[in-house]
Each structure stands twice: as C-alpha cells, then as structure tokens.
C-alpha cells in the first residue's frame, strides 16, 4: 500500500505542467460552481426577504371570500373589524398592520407631466404608524417625506414608476376608483415622496397612500382588505400560521390566514424551475472539469503503457495498479479542489460583500428575482464541502474509464507499446 501511494504521488510530480493545467481546470470549474451557487443562494435569500419585506409580509389575513377573487382586489370581501384582529394579534405578540389594496385609474396632467394621460394602477393604502412594524418602506425613501397618519392628499410612488412617468415630488395626480358598494370616487393626490424599493416588482408599480383617507373616499367604514403579519424569521412558518389560525377561530372571527409561501407561489415555482436550469449550468461546469481530468489520465495511461505492462508482468495485481492510478487522479483532484476552494472563498468574499450590479438589466427585465440591482452571494458551507468532495471524487471516477481500458490490453501488447 505504501508503495502504491508513493508511486501515485511521485507520478503526480512527473508531469508537473499537465498536472497543473488539469488542477487549474478543476479549480476554475469548482470556483465557477461555488460562485454560481453563491449568487443563486444569495439571490434566492434576498428575493425571499424582499418578498416578505415589501410584498407579502410573513402572513396575510383575509376575509374568506377574498382569496378566490384576490386578483380582482374585491373591496366587498373585506375585514369588517380590523381593530379587533389587530388587538388579538398584538395580545399574542404578533406585529401586524392593516392595509387596503385597490385598483384605480390614474389621471396625469400636462401641467406636471408634460402631457395628459391615464393608466390603470394598483394602490396600497397603509397605516403609516404601524406599516413599518411589518414592512420596511420607511428605509427606502429617497425624496420628499413619508406618509403621515390621516394624510389627506399625500401619496408615495416607486422610483422606477416615477422615472417612467416623469413624476416628481409635488406633482398632482387624480385617482378614480370604484368604492365599496359600486360608486366611483375621484381622489386628488399630491406626490409627497419617492421610494426606491429594493423589490423591483414593487418599485415598478408602487403607489401608497393613507389607509384612513382611502377608507373615507372608498366608503370602507373602517374595513380593510388585508391584515399583514410579521413572524420571527427563525420560527417555523407553518407552526406559527397554525397558531394564528387557531387564535382567530377561538375568537370566532371568520377569517383566513395565508403564509407568504402561498402568496408567492408563482415566484417559488419559478425559483424551483430556475434551480433545475442552474443545475444544468453546474453540471456543464463539472463536465468541463471531467473532460480535463479524463484527458490527463488518458494521456498518462497512454504514455505509461509499457510501465504498466512491466508492473503487471512483475505480478502487480490489476486492482493495485488501478488503485495507484486512482490515487494519482484523486491527488490531481485534491490539488484542484484545494485551489478551487481558495479561489471560491476569495470570489465569494467579493460577492458577499460587494456583489455584482445587474441594475442595468433588472430595470427593464423581469427575471422573477425580487432584487433591484446588486446581486450578492451567500455563504454555504455545504456547497464548499460538496465542491471539495466532488473535485476529488469526480477526478477518480473519470479516471476509472481510461485505467480500465489500459488494463484490458494484454501484457505483451503493453510491453511492445511505443
């Protein structure tokens, strides 16, 4: 055994250039794997965080009939007594806020926007005092001010939306919306602040006004369309959901709770599909490394055919010869894996702390990710371990084929080999 290991490691130094090139190929392959993996994990983590922080919260409470027609934002299916629900949640330590979401026709005026126009928009009416307990919009203000409780005309707009319609703080718009009961109401609103929301889907369409003002115009009588709940991130979402549902039922409130996973089902399905696609990329990276190793081992076997014949003639068993070559291949894999891990660490250090700005692409392209510009990596110990083991394991697996081929040759042919 000692001889086999000695031989394998001495052979590693035999073709230094070839060993180095193969090890570099493995290292670059593993680094690419770690980099892509880090970006994907980082993008997914940040997307899910931005979903909860700016879109869905951790969970949402609706009237039972709301869920089925949720794409129509039906104001008739509202929560009649939100204060009772909020009090119940507060009693049990859950932070929550009430919101009313409605569709409207937004009218733009040439005095402010250069030309007259109108468009369909989605408006979120919030409670400025409690919304930031659940969502994180107050951190995203880049111009003007945030909403105040009872703000009669103030409205906030997403920065990309503002850019698209050339909106500035101080501009006036009119919202025409169908109120609770079927009547139409016009609301003259002034843009008081611009929010640069890290969630691009929100930033493209965001219009936010005071809940009480919206309730007054739309005839909501204190009702809201949803109550959003913040749950601690480390808690099991399903367990917490069950607890909330139980408390609601115990209080005889006819309401439903939906987790952010249900609310973001479409995103999660796309993320899952993306994971499959990116696995293919990772697989290709591995194939490239595998071809490099396989080629190196093939050349090594070809050049050492006579030596192989001699060892077999001397009575060395095929298994021992195979083991020597496999250790050698594993050695190349080990060198490549060590360098790959070091390169991966350095690349990941940059990705985690600095990241890559894809803002130029994300501005006009919806890839499903809830990231506006900078994609940052994430540390994943399991990926590093996987990469290290795969680097060595893969090297040994791909070496198996040329070794087995060489061992199939008869000994006289090996000895005659030029």
């Amino acid at each position: 055994m000692k001889f086999i290991i000695t031989l394998a490691f001495k052979n590693l130094s035999r073709y230094k250039r070839r060993t180095s090139i193969t090890a570099v190929a493995i290292a670059v392959g593993l680094m690419m794997y770690l980099l892509v993996d880090s970006i994907l994990i980082g993008a997914e983590n940040e997307s899910m965080r931005n979903l909860r922080w700016y879109e869905t919260a951790s969970a949402r409470i609706h009237a039972p009939s709301y869920w089925e027609d949720r794409m129509l934002f039906p104001m008739e299916s509202s929560i009649e007594n939100p204060d009772a629900v909020l009090a119940l949640l507060d009693e049990n330590g859950w932070k929550a806020t009430a919101r009313t979401v409605f569709t409207a026709d937004m009218i733009l005026y040439s005095e402010d926007f250069g030309e007259d126009g109108n468009m369909n928009v989605l408006v979120t009416a919030i409670d400025p005092e409690t919304d930031n307990d659940v969502f994180h919009f107050s951190d995203t203000l880049i111009d003007g001010r945030f909403l105040e409780k009872g703000d009669e005309n103030g409205i906030l707009i997403g920065s990309w939306f503002a850019e698209d319609i050339n909106a500035k703080v101080g501009h006036w718009i009119t919202l025409v919306a169908r109120g609770n009961g079927g009547f139409y109401e016009a609301m003259d609103m002034q843009i008081v602040g611009i929010l640069n929301c890290p969630n691009p889907n929100v930033n493209r369409t965001l219009l936010m006004m005071d809940k009480d003002t919206a309730g007054y115009y739309l005839g909501m009588n204190q009702a809201v369309t949803e109550i959003d709940v913040l749950l601690p991130e480390h808690e099991d979402i399903d367990v917490e959901m069950a607890k909330i549902q139980a408390k609601i039922e115990a209080s005889h409130l006819d309401l439903e709770v939906h987790s952010w996973k249900e609310l973001a089902k479409d995103y999660l399905a796309i993320a899952e599909a993306k994971r499959g696609g990116t696995s293919m990329i990772l697989f290709l990276v591995f194939i490239i490394a595998a071809v490099g190793i396989s080629n190196t081992m093939l050349m090594a076997m070809y050049e050492r055919t006579r030596e192989l014949g001699m060892m077999r003639a001397m009575g060395m068993s095929d298994n021992n010869i195979r083991l020597a070559f496999l250790i050698e291949a594993g050695g190349i894999g080990f060198i490549g894996a060590v360098f790959g891990i070091v390169l991966g660490l350095l690349a990941n250090l940059y990705m985690v702390n600095v990241g890559i700005d894809f803002g130029w692409m994300m501005r006009d392209l919806d890839m499903g990710y809830r990231i506006q510009s900078v994609f940052r990596g994430a540390w994943s110990m399991s990926s590093f371990i996987e990469a290290f083991v795969a680097g060595i394991g893969l090297s040994m697996i791909v070496a198996w084929i040329p070794i087995s081929r060489a061992l199939k040759m008869d000994i006289p042919s090996c000895l005659r080999h030029q």
């Binding site: 001495k10 001397m314 095929d318 021992n320 000994i411």
Partner: protein, 225 residues
C-alpha cells in the same frame, strides 16, 4: 523444471494468421543459463512470453515445476509470476519517477515483505550488481548499463526460480553488454537461478550454456555446451 509441450501460438495480422510457434517442445532444467536465438519473427519473444505466463497459447501445455501454468486463470498467473518469475526487458522498463532503490524495492513491496527486510535485501542486491552508492539516483541520471543493472537487481531481489530476459543487451554497447552478461552469469552460478534469454547477438549466444535456435516458429537446434 520447465516443460514446454507441443506449444503453438498464432497471431491474427489483418486477414492472415501468423504462426509464431508451431508445436514447440522444450525442457529446461533448474539453474540453466539458456539462450533462445533466432532471427526476427522466429518466435523467441513469443516463447519467452508463454513461459513467463504473460501470453496465452493456442495449443499444447507448459508446466513449471509440475504446475500447469497454461491452465491457470488470470489471477493465478499474476500470483505465479509474482512469486516465481523475474523479468529483464530490452528497454529496462524502469519507473522513471522512482529511485534505483525504489525500482527494486517495489517488487518486494507487492510480495508484502516487511519494510526492514525490503531495505536489507534491496541494498544487498544493488551492491551485488555494482550500484552501491547510486541507490537514490533516478534512472534518468544513470547510463544504459546501470539501468539494466537495476533491472537485473529488480529481477533477482525476490530470489525467483526463473528469470526471463528479452534481448537484455540489445540496447547496450558491446562492452557494457558483456558486463551485463557476466553479471547475469555470476548470479546464475551464485543463486542457481534459471536464466532464459532471447537474443540474436552472437556474443550473448557464446555466453549461454545452452543454445536453442528458433526459425519460423520451429526449434531447429538445441545445443548444450
């Protein structure tokens, strides 16, 4: 004792069949220093390979010390070679990344000889073949003659009953070739090891105590001296 009985070996070359050996029979006693001579293509190497259990025959049988080696399976042949046979090749076939010492010691390693014994026996055999002080040199830093001495040491170190040498001096100049032959003869006399070597060099034939001449796969003469 080696008994080769009506052995035939054919090779397929394209669409034709080359009859390398045609019902060759031969007996080799223990401790013989025998040369198999003949022109290229006469079947010398084929006969050596068959005795060395590294090739398979089409007809006949070979017995070494009463064991029918031709009936052995691959694993048994490997074990038989490991325990009983030594090989010397025309091109030495040393492992270039290993030192002279390691090239010889590896034969004992695969026999699972204890480390201390490997060291003692390897140093002793290297001294015997005149390579004392060169144990740590790699083959690339040694002359052709010195490399062949390592190959002889490698064949001798496990004290095999039989050493098979395929044109052992073909790559050496005549002076070095003669030194190698003297060394092989000395080892033959000292350890009573059977040496069978193929050659078409007259000087090598002159050193042999028995000369078997092959021609077109047939033994045409068998002369003891």
């Amino acid at each position: 004792m080696i008994k080769v009985d009506k052995v035939s070996r054919n090779y397929i070359a394209g669409e034709s069949v080359v009859k390398a050996l045609k019902k060759v029979s031969l007996e080799v006693g223990d401790g013989e220093f025998m040369s198999i001579a003949g022109p290229s293509g006469s079947g010398k190497t084929t006969l050596l390979n068959l005795i060395g259990c590294i090739d398979s025959l089409d007809e006949g049988e070979i017995l070494i010390n009463g064991q029918q080696v031709t009936k052995m399976n691959k694993k048994e042949k490997t074990e038989f070679r490991r325990n009983n046979l030594g090989f010397i090749f025309q091109t030495y076939n040393l492992i270039p990344v290993l030192s002279a010492y390691e090239n010889v010691a590896f034969v004992l390693s695969i026999l699972n000889v204890p480390e201390q014994e490997i060291r003692e026996r390897t140093y002793a055999v290297l001294k015997e073949v005149g390579l004392e002080g060169m144990e740590n040199r790699r083959p690339s830093r040694l002359s052709g003659g010195q490399q062949q001495r390592i190959a002889i040491a490698r064949a001798l170190v496990k004290n095999p009953q039989i050493i098979l040498a395929d044109e052992p001096t073909a790559n050496l100049d005549s002076k070095t070739g003669e030194e190698i032959l003297k060394l092989m003869k000395k080892m033959n006399e000292k350890y009573h090891t059977t040496f069978i070597f193929s050659t078409h060099d007259q000087m090598v034939m002159d050193y042999a105590s028995r000369l078997v001449l092959l021609h077109d796969g047939n033994i045409v003469s068998d002369e003891r001296r």
